[in-house]
């Protein structure tokens, strides 16, 4: 397991009782079939099925709302684990199409949700100045610095 997990005592994760309060509390699990925080701890940590978990598409359904770790009786940082998993998965190329598009837009335009002609006209009508374009070069660099260079390169 890499750096992110080293921040925590690994035993913090191993003490999971599999009580499933996390899954029962998870809003995403209610709507996405196959998204199950308990199972991520079971498979990724307890069973060591790291490669399999990193290849799952459903990992991206975590909204990082943190209800699971708020209610976990053993204070396991489940959201932290999922963020870690998502980071690793992204580097391995497991990035859903919608997010890929979003990052592409971020690199190209500087906005995750870019402005449109319509928003430009609305701003004009309200007497607002046009928005300044962000420095896309800098954003790419920041993404690379953050370790997303492989992701940026694959775009």
């Amino acid at each position: 397991m890499s750096r992110t997990l080293d921040l925590y005592d690994r035993e913090d994760y191993y003490c999971c009782l599999q009580c499933a309060i996390c899954t029962g509390s998870c809003p995403s699990a209610q709507v996405v079939h196959g998204f199950n925080p308990r199972e991520f701890i079971l498979r990724y940590i307890l069973n060591g099925e790291q490669d399999e978990v990193l290849a799952m598409e459903s990992i991206w359904c975590c909204t990082t709302c943190q209800v699971c770790q708020e209610r976990c009786p053993h204070d396991i940082r489940i959201t932290g684990l999922l963020i870690h998993i998502m980071n690793l998965a992204a580097r391995k190329g497991n990035l859903p199409e919608c997010l890929r598009k979003g990052i592409k837009l971020l690199v190209e335009t500087g906005w995750f949700v870019p402005t449109t002609d319509r928003s430009y006209r609305v701003r004009q009508g309200l007497g607002l100045k046009p928005l300044k374009r962000p420095d896309t070069q800098e954003i790419s660099e920041i993404l690379r610095e953050a370790g997303l260079d492989e992701v940026v390169d694959t775009l």
Partner: protein
């Protein structure tokens, strides 16, 4: 009892016999026993030495006895295994030969030498010589000690009148002792009285408890005190002085519990016994089977407050004229020999977990509320009804581990909830067989006799067990509840509706027990319950002698276990009281009055409150309460406290003997008897090889290790010093190892100030099973020792030598001053 002077006896020249044991090949195989015996022969005062194959054998012991007579020996040194192993053997051996048993010293050349240096015969032999030399040095200064007997008052105090307290009181009373049973509630009975049925036999709880309560109420040897709280406990084993406060009942003992008063009383309040599910009056009987069966008045509720009488209804209704508004609380003091603490448990407050909606949704109740509801004498006359609409629910869900096994609430398993739920589910099935019952759990723990059968019975009757706790409970408009969670065995989410939810709440230490703890200096384990002296071998003793534990005060447990513990505690208390006296091992502290300045430093560190300042401002030790840790002695700046059998002089003599030969190449370790010495023994038993530079001096507690010993060792040129004790929290003497840490830090600072290498002094916590930690520490120190320069050691000798000199001067001045003061 205050200390009496037994010593010193007339001085006689020590005539020491040294016996080096081969222990078969255990010792003889790894070092040269003959050479060790030869070395001993050349030491001062040694008049006889011998090396034997097995010293502990019958012929070995006979030889010692014979030699004592033949050579007129008056001190015996046995170089063999750990004193934790055979000290009692050799003590009784020399006692049989007419010597005082405290004139024995053992050199541990097996666990601490031959077994840990299996492959370095030369170094092991040298080390054994050192160890024997140190032992002989100590033996020279050994003094005969008399163990004293202290009288024991043959009366007992039992705190708490739950089933454990009742059983303890009955057992002790039947054995013939006078028992004071104190209960803070108006009736005895405790939690068991509130429960409907017991698992696994499904007996009616109050039916089996009520006869015991009644017996405790009328037993001629039991003084039952309800509505009474313990306000102070002083003293020590055999001689406790207890003060209690009797709260006013406002109803005299003539009450026949007819209930006429209650019928006319206009004031209502929630009934505590029914957890607020029913109402009671201001004048009330806690419950039908209450013992004593007497009414009481809740003055917070009664209209007649502060002597102003506005309502006389009860007074008028009472034919026997039992109501007394002038009743006041009263204090009482009595003396007892032993104390049994049975303060029980409280239940977890489920509203601490908001997503389970307790106290928000009316149809979410706790398991204890369920017990009252299903009880025929309870508020709903045995009907399980929904609080929202008083209907009998068609479906019920139990949720396990509410407030247990969680870092957010209580980390421990509450032991009883699984079986309690299974029993509850069977009770529902018994009354209303069509009820749909689901139990949401993490693990079902059915570990006791007959428990698994009950679990299977519930399953056969169709109780559904679903693995996976709900994440959330949502209240619907109908009053029904929606449970959202995951069945982990099926990898499937559930989202199901139920008419009622019962939260299986955990147990937590009783609020009242904290008060008792303060008086008794009992320790708590990390879960907040009282700690026993040993979790396996002394399961009802506390670290305070003469104080015992029974029931849930020690940890959550079921009725059977509570009763078992209660009888065990009664038996243990009986052992002390039956003899009428107790023997105290002669290792207690003794104050040299003429040296005591009355600064009181010792009184602050004693974990047993065994030392106090008398009216003349002199420290006095209570022998019966003193456990002999020696922390007071280490704390005393004036050398006024002598630890019998572990005196400063004896330890200094050991250091002197240790430093006679190449101290700059060696490590001196101070190990406490209970954890780290045993840990080093364990390293030997496990044959964990470590560097042979280390020599161990045993003290009872690491708190005995005065900074003076450490400084003196450095002044004598020792390369490195290791102090080792029990882990913080595991100290055999409650918490005296915190002073070890304090002193370690002090010496570290002094070394920093003197520009010395602070790594020369090390501290390590080693439990009795952590031989490996001791091994690693010694090896680590050996690596550091290699890089230590002679120059550094010499600087240390100079620096600490000067400090020791100054200390001596200061001490002399202080003693002169004191002598003048005493004369005046």
């Amino acid at each position: 009892m205050d200390h009496e002077d037994h010593l010193p006896q007339e001085y006689e020249e020590p005539r020491i016999g040294v016996y080096v044991c081969h222990c078969g090949l255990n010792i003889g195989g790894s070092l040269d026993c003959e050479a060790v015996a030869m070395h001993a022969m050349n030491l001062d005062n040694v008049v006889y030495t011998e090396h034997q194959l097995y010293t502990c054998s019958e012929p070995g012991q006979e030889k010692i006895k014979k030699d004592i007579a033949e050579h007129n020996l008056n001190r015996i040194v046995v170089a063999a295994c750990s004193p934790r192993m055979h000290e009692p053997t050799f003590r009784s051996c020399i006692k049989a030969a007419g010597l005082n048993q405290y004139l024995l010293e053992m050199a541990n050349i097996r666990e601490h030498c031959s077994w840990v240096h299996l492959h370095d015969r030369e170094a092991a032999t040298e080390k054994a010589k050192d160890l024997v030399r140190m032992s002989v040095a100590r033996a020279r200064l050994l003094e005969p000690q008399e163990e004293i007997d202290i009288p024991v008052i043959q009366k007992a105090l039992v705190i708490g009148g739950g089933v454990a307290g009742i059983q303890t009181a009955l057992d002790l009373a039947d054995a013939g002792y006078e028992v004071n049973l104190v209960e803070k509630e108006p009736s005895i009975g405790g939690r068991m009285a509130q429960i409907d049925k017991t698992f696994p036999t499904m007996d009616c709880s109050i039916c089996i408890l009520a006869p015991k309560m009644a017996e405790a109420g009328r037993h001629p040897n039991i003084r039952l005190m309800t509505l009474t709280e313990v306000t102070s406990i002083n003293g020590y084993v055999g001689n406790f002085t207890v003060s209690v406060m009797h709260n006013a009942r406002y109803v005299t003992s003539d009450c026949s519990a007819c209930g006429d008063c209650s019928n006319v009383c206009p004031q209502f309040a929630p009934n505590e016994f029914d957890i607020g599910l029913a109402a009671r009056k201001a004048i009330y009987l806690p419950f039908a089977q209450a013992v004593p069966s007497k009414y009481l008045i809740d003055m917070n509720l009664c209209l007649n407050k502060d002597g102003v009488q506005v309502c006389e209804k009860c007074v008028e209704a009472c034919e026997r004229k039992c109501i007394n508004f002038n009743d006041t609380r009263s204090e009482e003091t009595f003396r007892v020999g032993t104390i049994v603490v049975c303060t029980g448990v409280d239940v977890f407050d489920a509203s601490e977990i908001p997503q389970y909606q307790y106290r928000r949704a009316p149809n979410v109740i706790t398991s204890l509320e369920f017990e009252r509801m299903i009880n025929a004498g309870g508020p709903t006359h045995g009907h399980l009804i929904r609080p929202s609409d008083h209907r009998i629910p068609k479906s019920v869900a139990f949720i396990q581990c509410v407030g247990s096994r969680s870092n957010k609430t209580n980390p421990y398993c509450s032991n009883v909830c699984c079986m309690n739920t299974i029993k509850d589910s069977l009770l529902i099935k018994e009354h209303w067989p069509d009820t749909e019952i689901k139990v949401f759990y993490i693990d079902i723990r059915a570990f006791g006799k007959g428990f698994e059968d009950l679990f299977q019975r519930a399953k056969r009757l169709g109780v559904q067990f679903i693995r996976g706790l709900p994440g959330e409970i949502v209240q619907l408009n109908s009053g029904n509840l929606r449970l959202i969670g995951e069945m982990t065995l099926m990898d499937r989410l559930y989202n199901m509706e139920t008419e009622m939810v019962i939260l299986s709440i955990g147990l937590k230490p009783s609020i009242g027990s904290d008060v008792v703890r303060k008086f008794l200096t009992m320790s708590l384990t990390s879960d907040g319950f009282f700690m026993v002296a040993h979790p396996k071998l002394r399961p009802v003793d506390t670290t305070s002698r003469g104080v015992f534990l029974a029931g849930c005060a020690e940890g959550p447990k079921d009725i059977k276990e509570s009763v078992t513990q209660a009888s065990a505690a009664a038996a243990r208390a009986n052992i002390i009281m039956n003899r009428g006296k107790i023997t105290v091992e002669a290792i207690t502290a003794r104050v040299q009055e003429d040296l005591c300045t009355g600064c009181g430093a010792c009184t602050k560190v004693c974990p047993y409150n065994a030392i106090y300042l008398n009216q003349n401002k002199r420290a006095v030790v209570i022998d019966a309460a003193c456990a002999g840790c020696g922390t007071c002695s280490a704390e005393c700046q004036y050398g006024a406290i002598i630890m019998r059998h572990f005196t400063d002089d004896q330890i200094m003599a050991q250091i002197d003997a240790f430093t006679e030969h190449e101290p700059e190449k060696k490590i001196l370790a101070f190990n406490c008897n209970w954890c780290s010495y045993a840990g080093a023994d364990f390293a030997g038993i496990g044959r964990m090889q470590y560097s042979p530079e280390v020599r161990i001096i045993r003290t009872m507690c690491s708190g005995r290790v005065s900074s003076r010993f450490v400084e003196y060792a450095f002044a004598r040129g020792v390369a490195m010093v290791l102090i080792s004790g029990c882990h913080i929290g595991d100290c055999h003497y409650i918490d005296t190892n915190t002073y070890t840490e304090k002193r370690y830090n002090q010496v570290q600072k002094i070394m920093e100030h003197g520009g010395l290498d602070q790594e020369r002094l090390q501290l390590v916590w080693v439990s009795a099973s952590e031989g490996q930690i001791f091994q690693e520490k010694v090896n680590e120190m050996k690596r550091k020792l290699k890089n230590l320069s002679m120059d550094e050691i010499k600087r240390g000798m100079l620096f600490f030598g000067q400090r020791e000199k100054k200390r001596q001067e200061r001490l002399t001045r202080a003693r002169q001053k004191l002598a003048i003061k005493i004369q005046a």
